[in-house]
Amino acid sequence: MNLTNLIVVFGFVGLMLFFFFFNQRRPGRHLRDIPAYYRVGGAIEVAVEDGSRIHISIGRGDVLSPQGAAAMVGLSMLRKIATVASDSDHPPLASTGDGMLGILARDTIYSSYKALNLTTGYKPNMGRVTGLTPFSFASGVIPLVFDERVSTNLMIGSFGSEAALITSAGERSQARTLAATDNLPGQAVMYAATQDPLIGEELYAGGAYLDVGKMHEASLHAQDIVRWVIAGAILLSALAGILQGLF
C-alpha cells in the first residue's frame, strides 16, 4: 500500500469537504483578489449585452496526462460561459488542439444548451478542433478569432509558446484576452503577451471566481492551506540544513 498517496488524497478530500461546509455557513465569498478574473467577468457581461462573441480556447492538454487538469478547468469555465451566453446573438465558441478535448468541449456546450432547453440553437461547430500539433492548432485559432467577431478571448488550458500567435491575433482584433496555462514557457509568453496573465495556480481558481460551484471555492481554500504547509516545510528544512551545517 502506498501510504503517501493515501494521505495526500484523503487529506485533500477532508480539507475540501471542510471548507465546502464551512463556506456554506458564512455569507459572501472569501477569495483573494485576482483582478484578471473580475475584468473577464465584466467582459463576458459586455459581450452578452452587445452581441459579440466569446471564444474559449482549451488548449492541447492530453486528457490522459497531468495537463488534462488544466483542460478540465477550461471546460468548467466553458460550461459557465455557455450557460450565460447561450442565447446571445453570437453564442460562445470553443477551440481545442486535441480530439478528445474537442468531443468534451462540444458535449459541454450541448449540455449547457440542453439544461436551458435551447438545443435548437446548438451547432456542433461551436466546439472545434483547430489542429493537432502546437503550430497547426495556433494557426487554426487565428482565423477563428478574426472571422467570428470575437470580443473576449479566454485561453484556459495547456498551451506552449505557440500561445503568442493566438494572443497576438486577439490583440490585433482588439479582443480582451485572459490567458492561463500550466506550462512554464507558455506562462512566460503569456505574461508578456496578454493584458490579463494568470500565474501558476491562479489558472485553477477560475471556477471559484466565475461562480461555477461552491466546491471550486472550497478546493481553492484547500489548495491555499496545503501551499502554506509546503512553503513552511521548505523553509524549515532549509533552516534545519543551515543549522546542521553550522553545528
Partner: protein, 207 residues
C-alpha cells in the same frame, strides 16, 4: 438565466461511470493492482485514438462547411485538399517517399516559418509590455530576459563575473526556485481538479 433542471437518465449514468472508473484508477495508485490499471489504460488509449480520428473529421467538416459557405475559401480549401491528399498518399504508397517529401519540404519549413513569426511576436510583446504595464514586475521580466539572452551568448559567457557567477545564479537558483514554486502551485491545482471530478462536483462529460 436559471437552469430548468431537466431530468435526464444519461446524467447519473455518465456520472456513476466516471466516478467509479476514476476512483478505481486512483485506488490502483494507492493499492497497486497492475492488471486493472493496465486494462483501464488500454481501454482509454483506444478511446483516445478514436477521439483523434473524430477530431480530424471535425476539422475537415468545419473547413468543408466554410468552403461551401464561401468564408475564407482559400485557407479552408487548402487545408481540406492537403489533408485528403496526405491521407491518400500515405494510404496508397507503401514506400512513404512522397510522405517523407511532404514532411521535409512542406511541414518542416512551414513550422520553421511559424517559429520565426513567433520570435517576432514575442519580441513585439516584450516591447509592448513596457508601455502596457509599466511596473516593477515588467521591469524585472524584461531585464531578466535581456540578461539571459546576452549572458548565454559566447561573449556573455566569457565576461568574468557575469559568465561564471551571476548567470549560473540567475538560471540555477532564481529561475529554478521560481519554476519550482509555480510547479508546486500547478501540482496542487491538478490534484484538486482531479478530486472535484471524482467527487462529481465537476462534470466535464456533459452530465
Amino acid at each position: 438565466m436559471k437552469s430548468k433542471n431537466k431530468f435526464s437518465i444519461q446524467t447519473p449514468i455518465a456520472m456513476i461511470i466516471a466516478i467509479v472508473t476514476g476512483v478505481t484508477m486512483l485506488a490502483t495508485y494507492i493499492w497497486p493492482m497492475p492488471g486493472i490499471q493496465v486494462t483501464l489504460l488500454n481501454w482509454v488509449t483506444i478511446m483516445a485514438a478514436a477521439a483523434l480520428v473524430i477530431g480530424v473529421f471535425n476539422l475537415v467538416s468545419v473547413h468543408g462547411r466554410r468552403v461551401i459557405e464561401g468564408k475564407n475559401i482559400v485557407n479552408s480549401a487548402a487545408l481540406v485538399i492537403a489533408m485528403v491528399a496526405a491521407f491518400f498518399i500515405k494510404f496508397l504508397d507503401q514506400d512513404y517517399l512522397p510522405a517523407e517529401w511532404m514532411l521535409s519540404y512542406l511541414i518542416v519549413p512551414i513550422e520553421s516559418a511559424l517559429m520565426g513569426v513567433l520570435v517576432v511576436s514575442l519580441a513585439y510583446a516584450a516591447v509592448r509590455l513596457i508601455s502596457k504595464r509599466p511596473n516593477l514586475y515588467s521591469g524585472i521580466f524584461i531585464t531578466t530576459v535581456l540578461f539571459s539572452l546576452v549572458a548565454n551568448t559566447a561573449l556573455g559567457l566569457s565576461i568574468p563575473i557575469i559568465g561564471d557567477t551571476i548567470k549560473p545564479f540567475v538560471t540555477h537558483v532564481l529561475a529554478s526556485a521560481g519554476a519550482r514554486g509555480i510547479l508546486i502551485g500547478v501540482a496542487l491545482g491538478t490534484i484538486t481538479t482531479g478530486l472535484r471530478i471524482l467527487m462529481g462536483a465537476d462534470r466535464p462529460y456533459g452530465g
